[in-house]
Amino acid sequence: MRLINRVLAALLSLALIAVSLLLIIEVIVDRASHRTAVVNWHTAYHWAQRNSWAAGSIRVTSGILILIGLVLLIAELKRPRVSRFAADPAGAGADGIDTAYTRRGLSAAIRSAVTAVDGVRSTAVKVKRRKVKIAAVASAQDRAAARSLRDPIAEAARERLTALKLRRPPSVLVRVAPRSR
């Protein structure tokens, strides 16, 4: 979101500069020669003198503005995805150091631990604030054999989380599917 915000902010600041400069130019030219300079705002003025609030275009524009505003507001106020998982300060080597594992690092650590389990063909790991979701594919095509891997996979993931010594280790959720062919 930070990157998107930077792009949106650049566009908004450019739009503000452009609209402000246009307004200044139009006011100066109108005062000097009673003409329009860049934007023919007389057309808009006459349109506003002819149309009422009940016009369909006003409703459509209002709806679009509300929709864009709501989407933007929800995106801005949405809780950002957690990016750091704090390490337990009890295991710190020095005071006053804020140590954490990155989300991507945590995901890679769990994936490597789970992939090392005998019978696991591939793994996808999603790390959320309080939960780690592991979706593994077994080497076997047999559903029962795949199901039997659930506990070893969960155990491997928990062992890895214990080794990382996180302040609040997330819980582990495992789903194992048999190899499709």
């Binding site: 915000n5 402000s20 200044i24 609030w53 009940a54």
Partner: protein, 191 residues
Amino acid sequence: MHADRTNRTMMVLFALLLIAVGLDAGAASIGAYGTHTQHSLLMANPTGHFIGSNGAWLWPVAAVAALIIALLALRWLLALLFSTDRSGDLVIRSSSGAGRTTLANGALTDAVVGEIEGYRGVNSARARLIGDAEDPELVVTAGLEESADFTALRQRIETEALTHARQALGNMALPTQLDLTISTKKASRVT
């Protein structure tokens, strides 16, 4: 930091403005302010009349306000494009108060990176000093090999590299952030 906080605040304000304008115009359009307003012309309202009768001084004032807005938006854009959160060079205070020592920002971060990358089990490291040069914060990211002993490496980085950095700055309470990441990459170290 590319004005991230300002960006977010401005975007929230912009969103609220869009919603407010949309709701106001929408309410007038569906007759929430009465059928008289709903069927009146867009300019036939107290605001329109005020603008119409006070245009002689209102538009020059609007132009001045627009100039201020344009300057503020330009400042925002420049901050967005060119600002950085990195500290400048650091001044080391001597205990005697005599003399003045300046430590180049890059010298410290390069030393920290070099030391951490020398540890077995670390495949990469990055460091930067952020904030005010008088009161900086050290931010370090270390990439650990998946086969490494994470706890031992974490303690080694904290007790050695980061403590050395604090000693070099003469500030054992230097705010420090350590981000550990784990990857399947192996360090290209000669053994």
